[in-house]
């Protein structure tokens, strides 16, 4: 395994762990995690249902990231989720500041998928008429 590939595997494991721990811990201590959901997401379903639906999505994304297949997409979704968590929980920045770093890891992983990234931006160029 090349050093570059080893680095990407380490990034994938780290990012996947950050996505897997909350839904697993939420099974034991849901009140710790429900507080991070902003007010506008509440009231459509019960808090527990919301928590576990989001948790299921996190598990899917984590497994996808671990698989390494088309890493651009799950990493981009993970980065967006992490940035959203920070933006909507600035009052807890002493805790969620780490999410900024993890989001940067996710962006690094997304950019490592050169094939998808280049295809994605070529497509944008075509749409933009360039």
């Amino acid at each position: 395994m090349s050093l570059e590939r080893a680095a990407l595997v380490a990034l994938r494991i780290g990012l996947a762990f950050a996505l897997l721990y909350p839904p697993v811990n939420a099974l034991i201590d849901p009140s710790t995690w429900i507080g991070y959901f902003p007010a506008f997401t509440r009231g459509f379903v019960s808090d527990v249902t919301l928590l576990h639906l989001f948790g299921a999505a996190e598990v899917v994304i984590a497994i996808w990231i671990l698989s390494g297949w088309r890493i651009f997409w799950p990493s981009t979704v993970a980065a967006a989720m992490l940035i959203a968590i920070v933006v909507f929980n600035t009052s807890s920045f002493q805790v969620v500041f780490r999410d900024v770093s993890i989001a940067a890891m996710a962006i690094a992983l997304a950019l490592s998928d050169r094939k998808t990234v280049s295809a994605f931006f070529r497509l944008n160029d075509v749409y933009a008429g360039r």
Partner: protein, 154 residues
Amino acid sequence: MNNLWIWIVVLIIILGGGYWWYTSSQATLPVVNQGASSPVGGTATNEDEFAALVSYTNDGYTPATVNIKKGETVRFVNNSDRDTWPASARHPDHVVYDGTSRTEHCPNTDGTAFDACRGLTPGESWEFTFDKVGEWAYHDHLIAQYFGKVIVTE
């Protein structure tokens, strides 16, 4: 492509910083000396039992900051249509006021922890007596984006 990513990062920083500034200014502007304040929403019954009243609505805590003297009591009233769980910073461990974490001090039977330790249902109130001087930030454990501060002086 490089320029695009730079602009995306700049946009995120601007939006995030703006939101942060907005929420911070909302939280610190309404500094109110309540004294024996009037009940909000008609839920509280005895004004003499507390020095300040904080109402929790669907938009958060009002006033966001209250000033009291050491040994005085703040009453938190849930005037929203959902549960609220007032507790000391920091989310989620609530360790700042008394140095113990939520798992250590709840259910808070001796009343020394600044932590309701449960969700207050709509219309319900909860009181806490502050025996420590300082600026005590708190939040809603169930929606942590809502927060406030109790300033306790000698």
